[in-house]
Structures are given as C-alpha cells and as structure tokens.
C-alpha cells in the first residue's frame, strides 16, 4: 500500500496515519450483541502548510468524526495524528492542549456553538483566558478579531448570540476559533447552514484570513461547488473510507473513482445543455454498522465485479499526488477494467 501521506514534500503540517474510530453501542447485559458503527476506518491523509484540504462525502461518511478525532474531542481507537511530524499525545510529541491551541474548529450550527448566556466578547475571550492570556490582552485580541471578521467591536462585543444573524454568528465563531492564534482551522460544514449570499461573504472572509494569518484549512462540506472554490486538494470519503484524494482540478476534471464520478455528475450544472438526465447513483449509502465487504462502494458501483466484493482496494497512485481506492485503478487487481480508466 502506498501511504498518501508519505510524499516527497518535507513534513506536512497535519498528517494522519490509519486513523480509526468504531463506535460501539449496546452490548450490555441484556441488549445482546454490541453494534459497531465503523465511522472512520483506517484513513490516512496529510494537509500541507498553508493549503486547504476539502473533504466531501454523503451524510454519515465520517467527515465530522474525522474532524472531531483530529481535535481529540473523541478518542481515536488507533492511528496517529501528527502536527509537523510531532505525534499528538505521543511520548515525544505534543500534548493535547498544545495541539488544540494549534488547531481550532468551527462548527456547522452557529447558534449552538455559542453559549447563549455569554456575550460574544466573553465567548471569544474564553479560549485565550484558558491559556493564561491576561484579561486585558484577551479583550484586546477579541476586539481586533471582531473587527477583522467584519463586526465592529464597539457595537457587537456586548451582544448576546441571539441578537445576531446566522452569518454574524458564524463570523463570531471564526473569531473565537482564531483567538487562540491557531495555525489550522477545521471547518466542519462551517458555511453550509448560511444563505447563499452570506455563505459567499464568509467564504471570502475565510480566504482572506487564510492569507493574512498563513492558516491551513481542513474544509468539510457536502457542497461540491464550495469545496471546489476553496480547496487546493480534495478528499472524497465514503462510509468511513477514503475513496480518492488529489489536487482539486484533477479530481473535478478527471475523477478516477466511480463514486467521485457519480458525485460530480450529481452536481447541478448551470449550463442547460449539460442536463443531468438520470440520477448517477440512487438510494442511501449502506449502513456503516455492517459495511459491505471488499470495496465499500461495490453495492452501488456500476462497474462492480467479483473482486470488488472480495478484496478491499488499496489507495493507488494514478497521477502525481492523486490516489484512488479502486480496483480499476490498480493494474494487478484482477478487475477486467483495471488499468483502463
């Protein structure tokens, strides 16, 4: 197996190897056999300093779980997360508190992610105060960040979250995440709940902030247009596995994995001559409780063959920096279309 995170790039900012999280529920005295939800199964990827990795996939594919694993909000079963080569929680690595200072997260629900009983100023100051920044310095930082995200501090600092609109709240959440002066932001569907016009404003704000502070982004979204707009590289996930990962133009112009192809076909086009006549894939993805054997996509894949049911495809390099987890991409796999596509 070629690990996509081992590339001749020097040390990437963020790197994971074989990250895995299976949620176990039930299995008590009376509930019988425990049910194991394979939320994230051995995924490996890296994000280079100053770039944006877009993560796409249907609901329940493990996108958010991945972000929460990276933040240490849920404990990983196995695998490693490294920031600049240093293991988080490892013996000679970073402790989790320091890792959380370097990486911050913005959540989808702008309202639920702010304490309703705190003024937004206090919410932004909370992180720095935890990290022993003086009160006056924390307040100064909060005000300058509010200003930076487009909210005048003298008018907004003392407001409560319910007094703001969704877009304004998400700006506050971004300011809050930046208050610890992190080097990376994990944006979990951060713009998905916003109106289209507001979404565009916040996206542009994110791009500006990235340049200004030299940030690295992990951008999770189900919106392929948005991901194309903001990302340098894209990772496609399906049922807790990486299907394809590569540079954004490469993925969007010449997708190699049948799942990526289907996703992109499902993207509504603005061009009336490019109609989507029939749904490229139908139905819901199978349950992650008992994921399909072999390739997890074989139940919905138009090119599925026996080998797909039996063997799990490994990520194979097809073009520079472009990795595909499909038997058709692997010449030695035994799939009849191997090597053609």
């Amino acid at each position: 197996m070629i690990n996509p995170s081992i590339e001749a790039h020097g040390v990437p900012f963020l790197e994971t190897t074989d990250l895995r999280k299976h949620f176990v529920s039930g299995g008590g005295l009376l509930s019988g056999k425990p049910r194991v939800v394979q939320a994230v199964s051995n995924i490996s990827f890296h994000v280079d300093q100053g770039t944006t990795l877009g993560v796409v996939g249907e609901s329940g594919c493990g996108k958010s779980t991945t972000a929460r694993l990276l933040m240490g909000l849920i404990e990983r079963d196995s695998g490693a997360v490294r920031i600049e080569g240093k293991d988080i929680g490892g013996p000679q690595g970073l402790d989790i508190k320091e890792a959380r200072r370097q990486m911050q997260m913005v959540f989808q629900d702008s309202f639920a992610s702010l304490n309703p009983r705190m003024t937004i100023e206090t919410s932004i100051m909370f992180g720095p105060r935890v990290h022993k920044v003086s009160k006056s310095e924390a307040r100064r930082r909060a005000h300058s960040l509010l200003d930076r995200v487009g909210l005048q501090p003298e008018r907004f600092a003392a407001r409560y979250p319910h007094e703001l609109s969704g877009g304004q709240r998400q700006r506050v959440n971004i300011a809050r995440a930046l208050a610890l002066e992190p080097r990376m932001l994990l944006l979990d569907e951060a713009v998905s709940a916003l109106d289209k016009s507001v979404e565009a404003q916040v996206l542009n704000l994110l791009l500006d902030l990235k340049d200004e502070f030299g940030l690295t982004y992990l951008f999770i979204s189900h919106d392929l247009n948005v991901v194309q707009y903001i990302s340098d590289r894209v990772m496609v996930m399906y049922l807790g596995k990486v299907m394809e990962i590569g540079p954004v133009e490469d993925i969007y112009n010449t997708p190699s994995h049948p799942y990526t192809q289907a996703l992109l076909k499902a993207m509504p086009s603005m061009d009336p001559t490019q109609r989507t006549e029939s749904a490229p894939i139908t139905g819901d993805p199978p349950s992650p409780i008992n994921p399909p054997s072999g390739c997890r996509f074989h139940t919905r894949c138009p090119h599925a063959e026996d080998v797909c049911q039996l063997l799990e495809p490994q990520l194979t390099v097809t073009r520079p920096e472009h990795f595909v987890g499909c038997h058709m991409a692997d010449i030695d796999s035994g799939h009849s279309k191997a090597g053609n596509g």
Partner: protein, 299 residues
C-alpha cells in the same frame, strides 16, 4: 425577541456601548431588580425571617404559656390578635416563634441537598460513563425508598434531635435534585459550545463553571425551591412522631398537626400554620422562577 437585521451592520436596534462593562451576573441582578414579583417575594421572605429572628422582641406573649380557659379563641379576641390554640396559647406568638424552627427545617436541608445533589448531578451529567453510572444507580437505590419512610428510618437510627433531623431530610432530598441536575446537564453538555470550549483546551471544571452552570442553575433552583414546603412538612411529620422538634416547641408543621382536631370549631386558626408554610414556599418558588427568567438573556 425579534430584531431587524442586515448582514453587514447587524441589528438595527442600538445597544448602548455602556453595556460592555456589565458582567453576566450584574445583568441578572439588574433584571431581577425590575421584576415586581421578585421584589414582592423578597420583601415577604425578609419580613418572615426578621420576624422569626426577633420573635422574643415583638411577640406579645410567651409561646409556651397558655390557659385552658382561653383555648381556641377566635381571631381578633382581645389579647389574642390571631386567636389561641388548643392549649390556650397565643397563636401570633407561636407563629412568630414557629418560624424559627420551620425556616431552618425548610431551608437548611434544601440548601445542603442543592449543593451536594446539584454537584453530584452536574458531575455525573458532564462526565458520563462510569461516573454517571455509579452516581445515578446509587441515587436510584435511595430514591426507591418512600421519602417519609426514609426520613423516619434515618432520624430514628441517628436518634432524635434537630441536627439528625436536618441530616435525614438532606439525604432524602438529594436524589430528586441529583436527577434533575443530571438530566439538564446532559442536555447542555451535548451542545456545540461545550464541545468548542473543550476544543479550546479548557479542563472539565473550567467548562462546568464557565459554560454549564449558567445554563443549568435556573431549572435546578426552581425545582429545589418547590422542595422547601416538602421539607417543612416532612420535618413536622418527624416532629409529630417525636423525632424532631418536641412540644411545646412551636413549629408550623407541629402546630398544623396539633390543631387538626380544631378544624371544625376554629377552621381559620387551624389553617394559620398551613398558610405560613404556603406563603414561604410560594414566595421562594416565585422568587426562583423570577431568577430563572432573569438568568435568561433571550427575553
């Protein structure tokens, strides 16, 4: 509350910048100070507490001296402003003195149970996992006993006396408060802002103090104050079977019990101790309800 907004400039309603210097709790108290119900209840409760504390100074006669000849006099009888009880003692005097014991048996166990039960419930709700299991299953065991039986058993085992009675009442009141605290904490805990606080590297205690408490205290307070009257009544029950206050010590619950035989001849007098319990517990309840809404910034 609906505020007109536009994306760039925010709510059109102007907020005076002076508000920035106000902390959250200062805001709570300023809202509370504008609440007529809260002011009324505070005045009533303060008056009752002061009357109980200074009973020896303001009471017209001795609470334990009576005359059988003057028993069960109606309200307004000369020398007996609120009538007299079944042993001819002045009701007003006994109600004033009775407040001392009743307020103690009402407030102390609830306050202790609030601190212990609230702490345990919040911890269990926030931590989850095995800590939650231990705390909640232990609570269930205590909860399984009827509260009166439990109180009688504990104070019976410890022996009669005020301290033992207070301890027994506290133990009885803890489980329901643990239950309430645990369930509201579990709800708050799953919200994204707690997750975001964890992501900023804060420890559990800091998160509970800064983010959880403000969002759970309201419902816990309101529920706990409803236990005040329960506590007073339970205490009077213990007194009645000789495990708490002993006659002739005046105590509202005990008086209510003793006067129940007079319910047909002097219903107003028989009801007076009950009215006092009712006023105290209602005032606390309304006050904590006002506090809850004052703590809600979204009004």
């Amino acid at each position: 509350m609906i505020v007109m907004t536009d994306e760039r400039h925010g709510p059109v309603v102007e907020v005076p910048p002076a508000a920035a210097s106000h902390g959250y709790w200062r805001g709570v108290f300023s809202r509370l100070a504008k609440d007529k119900t809260a002011i009324g209840c505070t005045v009533i409760l303060t008056a009752i507490v002061l009357a109980a504390v200074f009973a020896p100074l303001i009471a017209p006669s001795d609470p334990s001296v009576g005359s059988v000849l003057k028993r069960l006099k109606p309200v307004g009888e000369p020398g007996f402003l609120l009538g007299s009880d079944e042993l001819g003692r002045d009701m007003l005097t006994r109600l004033l003195y009775g407040g001392r014991m009743s307020l103690i048996t009402g407030i102390v166990p609830v306050a202790l149970a609030l601190i212990i039960g609230g702490g345990l419930g919040t911890l269990a709700g926030y931590m989850g996992g095995w800590i939650n299991s231990i705390v909640m299953r232990t609570t269930d065991v205590i909860f399984a006993f009827p509260s009166v039986l439990m109180a009688v058993a504990i104070s019976g085992a410890l022996g009669a006396g005020l301290e033992n009675m207070l301890l027994a009442l506290t133990i009885v009141l803890i489980p329901p408060i643990v239950r309430i605290s645990e369930s509201v904490t579990t709800q708050v805990r799953s919200l994204d802002f707690v997750e975001a606080a964890r992501a900023s590297g804060a420890g559990s205690l800091t998160i509970i103090r800064a983010h959880v408490l403000g969002n759970i205290l309201g419902p816990i307070f309101v529920y706990s104050t409803s236990l005040l009257s329960v506590s007073i009544i339970l205490a009077s029950g213990l007194s009645f079977i000789g495990l708490g206050a002993k006659p002739p010590t005046p105590e509202w619950g005990l008086m209510l019990n003793a006067l129940r035989t007079a319910i047909y001849s002097q219903p107003i007098i028989a009801a007076l101790p009950g009215v006092m319990i009712f006023i105290v517990s209602l005032s606390f309840n309304l006050l904590s309800d006002s506090l809850r809404s004052a703590m809600d910034v979204q009004r």
